[in-house]
């Protein structure tokens, strides 16, 4: 019987699957040549953590949750990856890398910016929408005061924020953990800020996000709001051509503070060059070091495992306050 077009399509799809299956089998065979997996003992995955996996850290130590917020492509993931990368390249006077439960998570995000990727241009992959593995961990030692900080960085897709930037209920539902943050970091794309057609829209988007988070009761008074202007190297280059850019940037902090007067004392602007453009002389590590040093040096907030559970807020049941609940015999 002659094959129909549909039959041929199915056959072709099956062939594609066969290639894929072969590759997967190769991988499995490769990994299991010397010992069977079931005979081994699993080691920590090293990947970005899911919320319930954070308990492993919060049950023992305090954490500094840094909630990274911003639209698609603004540079959130690049900043996070480069925060890790700067410790691979440098030893700083006061801040030492002290460990990470998510080294593989950082490396997965860094693979496309390394020469080993075979790419000729670095391109940090987009964070997947609704990805549960969104927490990256950096343990740092502040040598000045011998204090250890467990910095947890969220890596959430810009699309996720896009959905709820003007939707209070959705923001509350999806990002209840913002309430547990030490710092909410709103990232504004520096490469767009220099475009006079788009810059007001980008700033407005940041304002919308902050307004919606506030209206969703996610921003308490002790949360620090860090407005990050990413890709500062691009900004500095464009300023040479257009002085209005500087004026606009100088106005950003003032504008946000005047809009959110009650949060005024907790808002600050930080310019960051995470991955400088080719042949740039700007030392990217300096701005990143300043960024993370400021985050950890705010002393008044941070998730202290024994006091974070607020009994009045029964809805806030997440992994951060499980220990608090446990202490009270409620979990």
């Amino acid at each position: 019987m002659e094959k129909t077009i549909e039959d041929k399509k199915i056959e072709s799809m099956l062939e594609d699957n066969a290639i894929e299956n072969e590759l997967i089998n190769d991988y499995i065979n490769d990994s299991e040549t010397e010992y069977k997996k079931e005979e081994g003992i699993y080691l920590p995955s090293g990947q970005a953590l899911e919320e319930n996996e954070l308990y492993e850290i919060t049950s023992k130590e305090n954490i500094d949750l840094i909630f990274m917020v911003g639209p698609v492509g603004c540079g959130k993931t690049t900043i996070e990856v480069m925060l890790y990368q700067m410790f691979l390249e440098n030893t700083f006077d006061d801040l030492y890398f002290s460990g990470s439960k998510t080294l593989l998570g950082f490396e997965e995000r860094a693979k496309s910016i390394r020469i080993s990727s075979g790419n000729s241009e670095p391109q940090v992959e987009r964070t997947r929408i609704n990805d549960e593995k969104k927490y990256l961990h950096l343990k740092l030692l502040n040598k000045k005061n011998s204090k250890t900080h467990n910095v947890i960085l969220t890596d959430v897709s810009g699309e996720d924020f896009n959905e709820c930037k003007n939707n209070v209920d959705l923001m509350k539902e999806k990002f209840a953990n913002i309430r547990s943050s030490k710092v909410v970091c709103i990232v504004l794309d520096g490469a767009v800020i220099v475009d006079k057609i788009k810059r007001n829209s980008i700033l407005s988007e940041g304002m919308q996000l902050l307004q919606t988070m506030k209206d969703a009761n996610l921003i308490s008074r002790d949360i620090v709001i860090c407005i990050v202007l990413s890709k500062n190297d691009v900004i500095q280059n464009k300023i040479k051509e257009d002085v209005n850019i500087k004026e606009f940037i100088d106005f950003i902090e003032e504008r946000i503070k005047s809009k959110f007067i009650d949060l005024k004392e907790k808002i600050y602007l930080q310019k960051v060059t995470a991955l400088p453009d080719d042949n740039e002389e700007i030392e990217h590590s300096e701005s990143l070091l300043e960024l993370i040093t400021k985050w950890i040096n705010y002393e008044d907030k941070g998730i202290q495992s024994n006091i974070i559970y607020n009994k009045d807020d029964d809805k806030l049941v997440d992994e951060f306050n499980r220990l608090g609940m446990k202490i009270r015999g409620e979990a």
């Binding site: 081994g40 003992i41 691979l88 890398f97 593989l104 241009e121 250890t148 400088p276």
Partner: protein
């Protein structure tokens, strides 16, 4: 009699087997009391050590531990300068085993037990095999090559060497739980190090492996650390002149050079096996 177990960690081609080969040769051919340890007796089957030390003495640089087969665990009875007898056990694991731990996130039970029972961990680093995880941006555009669309099943990420080393130490910490860990970091092929830049192994690690340096510094409560620079081959065996010069030595063990954390140079390769009381 004391019994000490050593666990030898290192990525592929980091000189673990060469070190053991040189050690065995040294122990078999020296009875002097000036050394930290001398061989009291061979316990059981040390054919493996005999074979690799023979190849070491014949300048065979291709000493590699096969991945397949059992862990090449060897036991030797050593005597220290005070006359104390120490039974030393040390497995020789191929570097691929450690690569697998990182890639597959799994460890065999046997291997796990060796870590749990170890009194001292040796971490080997080859200064010539350090992948720094170079960023594309650090290379001039004209030198960049596009590989094109390669099939990436997510099976392997090229992880920088120091990240792998930190991960391995985190695994050891995870396995040993709350116990303080005796860790000796050994920079192998110390003869290739530029002595005008680095006087001792600490200076080298600080400069070339900053992530590892920061990690071990800030976890000094967990790790009781010592550092060594060891040249077990004696030089680059691919260089015929070097090889000839080394072959001219009357005692082959003079090829061995051990540099301690302060930069002092000796040729006693048994020193790293010392475990002081309280460690």
């Amino acid at each position: 009699m004391k019994e000490y177990s050593y666990y030898i960690v290192g990525l592929p081609s980091t000189g673990k087997t060469t070190f053991l080969a040189a050690l065995y040769y040294f122990l078999i051919n020296n009875q002097g009391k000036d050394y930290a340890f001398r061989l009291k007796r061979i316990v059981g089957n040390s054919s493996y050590l005999g074979e690799i030390s023979k190849r070491w003495a014949e300048f065979d640089k291709a000493l590699r531990t096969p991945l397949t087969g059992d862990i090449k665990e060897t036991e030797l009875e050593l005597e220290d300068q005070m006359g104390n007898i120490v039974r030393a056990k040390f497995p020789d694991l191929s570097g691929e085993n450690f690569e697998r731990m990182i890639n597959d996130r799994i460890i065999t039970k046997e291997n796990r037990d060796s870590i749990v029972n170890s009194d001292k961990i040796f971490l080997f680093i080859n200064p010539e095999e350090i992948d720094i995880g170079l960023l594309i941006k650090k290379i001039d555009k004209e030198y960049r090559k596009e590989k094109g669309n390669i099939i990436d099943m997510g099976r392997k990420i090229n992880i920088p060497t120091q990240t792998k080393l930190v991960e391995l130490l985190q695994f050891i910490e995870f396995i040993k739980k709350e116990v303080q860990i005796n860790l000796d970091i050994i920079i192998s092929a110390w003869d290739v190090i530029d002595n005008s830049k680095y006087n001792n192994p600490i200076e080298f690690i600080e400069a070339k492996l900053p992530l590892l340096w920061q990690y071990i510094f800030s976890n000094s409560k967990t790790f009781n650390i010592n550092y060594w620079g060891i040249s077990a081959q004696g030089g680059d065996l691919d260089d015929q002149d070097t090889k000839e010069k080394l072959a001219d030595l009357i005692c082959a063990e003079e090829r061995i050079r051990v540099v301690d954390k302060n930069g002092n140079s000796i040729n006693d390769i048994t020193v790293p096996f010392l475990i002081s009381e309280g460690e």
